[in-house]
């Protein structure tokens, strides 16, 4: 997704302003002219200046819409795959402990395979084998406490 530089510049300016306002609300250290807000204020000012410069250079360049989207996003399956790989993973993280990696990972991978056009049973089996192999390697060999979730007691 390409956004016009002038829009990004404006957003950065607003962000810088927010950072600056937040940093100024932090208390100063007693007897010192500097404090926890010093460094973020510098960054906030840099964001504001950078935003203005970017907006100015952006306004000079014409011939691009405000927002341009890669044609790939128009395919529903690809769009869904990208959303699943991002928002879907965040949702998965929320229930990670209860659902567990084996079941959740298997569902996620199978769905992604299907959305990518790999629909045969081979790929369902492949996700199952992959997730199980990763889970067992991590928990048994490397002692990473990946949650078994719904399969607790079985795995």
């Amino acid at each position: 997704m390409k956004v016009h530089d002038s829009v990004i510049g404006a957003l950065l300016f607003a962000f810088g302003l927010w950072v600056l306002a937040t940093a100024w609300s932090y208390p100063e250290m007693p007897g010192q002219s500097i404090g926890p807000g010093t460094f973020p204020s510098v960054l906030g000012a840099l964001f504001m200046a950078g935003g203005v410069l970017l907006a100015i250079t952006g306004l000079r360049e014409r011939g691009m819409g405000l927002v341009m989207i890669d044609p790939g996003w128009r395919f529903p399956a690809r769009f869904a795959a990208a959303i699943l790989a991002t928002a879907g993973v965040v949702a998965f993280a929320m229930v990670f402990e209860t659902v567990g990696f084996p079941i959740g990972g298997f569902v996620l991978l199978t769905a992604l395979f299907i959305l990518s056009g790999y629909r045969s049973p081979t790929w369902i089996a492949a996700s199952a084998v992959f997730v199980l192999a990763v889970h067992l390697t991590m928990t048994r060999l490397l002692y990473v406490p990946l949650p078994a979730g719904l399969l607790k007691g079985i795995l």
């Binding site: 997704m1 390409k2 956004v3 530089d5 990004i8 950065l12 950072v19 937040t22 932090y26 208390p27 250290m29 010192q32 002219s33 500097i34 404090g35 926890p36 010093t38 460094f39 973020p40 960054l43 840099l46 964001f47 950078g50 410069l53 970017l54 250079t57 890669d70 790939g72 395919f75 690809r78 769009f79 795959a81 990208a82 790989a85 991002t86 928002a87 993973v89 965040v90 998965f92 993280a93 929320m94 990670f96 402990e97 990696f101 990972g105 996620l108 991978l109 992604l112 959305l115 990518s116 056009g117 790999y118 992959f130 990763v134 991590m138 490397l142 002692y143 990473v144 406490p145 990946l146």
Partner: protein, 503 residues
Amino acid sequence: MIFQHLGAAFELVLTWNMFLIMFSCALFGLFVGSVPGLSATMATAMLVPLTFFMDPVPAIAAIVTTAAMAIFASDIPAALIRIPGTAASAAYVSDLNALTRAGKVGRALGISVTASAIGGIFGSLVLIFAAPELALVSLNFTSFEYFWLALLGLTAAVMLGSASILKSLIALCIGLMIASVGMDTTSGLPRFTFGLTSLLDGVAFVPALIGMFAIPELIRTFVHRDLPPPAAPIGNPFSLFRGLGGVLWRHKTNLARSSTIGTIIGILPGAGSDIASWISYAVSKKFSKKPEVYGDGSEEGLVDACAANNSALSGAYVPAMVFGIPGDSITAIVIGVLYIKGLNPGPMVFLTSADTIAAIFLVFLLANILIVPLGLLAIGFAAQVLRVPKLVLAPMILGFCIVGSYSIDASASGVVIMVVLGVLAYLMEENGFPVAPTILGIVMGLLVERNLVTSLIKSDGSPLGFFERPIAAGLALTVAIIWIVPVVLWISRRKKRSGETFV
């Protein structure tokens, strides 16, 4: 200094365990490097969770071997399908492919594999001899020197990239901003945490890294689906060495020059193997007797660029080990790993853990020597690897990313950080903001801020203190020159241009 620890170092390195780790990481690196779109940095980031469960030396060995192999292996798809496996091969991709089309694929990859190994060994030797000496000097550094050194590193990251300086600077600020999330180190005040307790310790580094390097690639794979062209066949891999000695001997000065350039660029914080190969390729063309064949199958350019990118990989460890300042994005990861291992990079580590440091140096040499036999193997299997579509790998890579970012501190908040920063990185890359300065900002944010605040407290808030010590003043001057020169050049160019339009 290093030599008296060699005996103990050999004991640490020459074990079956190490051999197994290096061998499997080499295969992993070769695989990732030869799949276009999977970068050496991403391979390293994915490896980090595994290294938590290893001792320091095997952990570093795993990373060094993977990165060295991936940087070499990225030449394979460059030669066969004209797509560089990683950015480090981008400079000479047309030369490699032109040689392939002329039926000299064996020669092309032969040059690539041997020049890579030679450059890598050169860089490792510089690391072995220069790092301990530098460490001795840097024992006298105070927060003023460290502040300027860190600023120099961040400056180099902004100036040396291929993206616009303004966008690189903004990208860097985003990284520094992410680093300032969490409890402030001097006052203990929570900053920018939005009331979330999981952010009190700051944004976890490894999930941030995995997300910023892997998620954009995955989104592009799922959505954009740019499919690579079919691969050119390779004949007998053993034909690789035919006439190779002659080529290398003819270009021995090139080898020496580009290994030196590569190592120096590697040492500069922020600039890594991709920039090293671009610059030494350009230098090579400038001094060549046949500059017209560059881009059209120049063996000379190939020798230069291949040696440079692998030597930069080792050079990058010099500032990382001595100052804790990463030379490129891979060493940024390594520094994170070293901290977790309790092996805090800095001059003291050369005194307190000399055996481990010597062992790590040995690992560098070994990894670069291994490039030749394993590289041959990889070239033989390359055609098969290239047939694996990236789309099939994408869901599995996502699976690894989830496990990796969860296992850092067994918390699902790591997974959320990975996705959020990954989406941010995708949007940044789509709009021409490079991700590498952001990563550097995340790694160095605390270092910059801590040294700035300490220095300001020491000098009672007076900025003069930053210039009173000779090395600090020298570093400050260097930083100033790097910032001022491009501005002056830009203004003079503008004046010239506006003069032309008025005449």
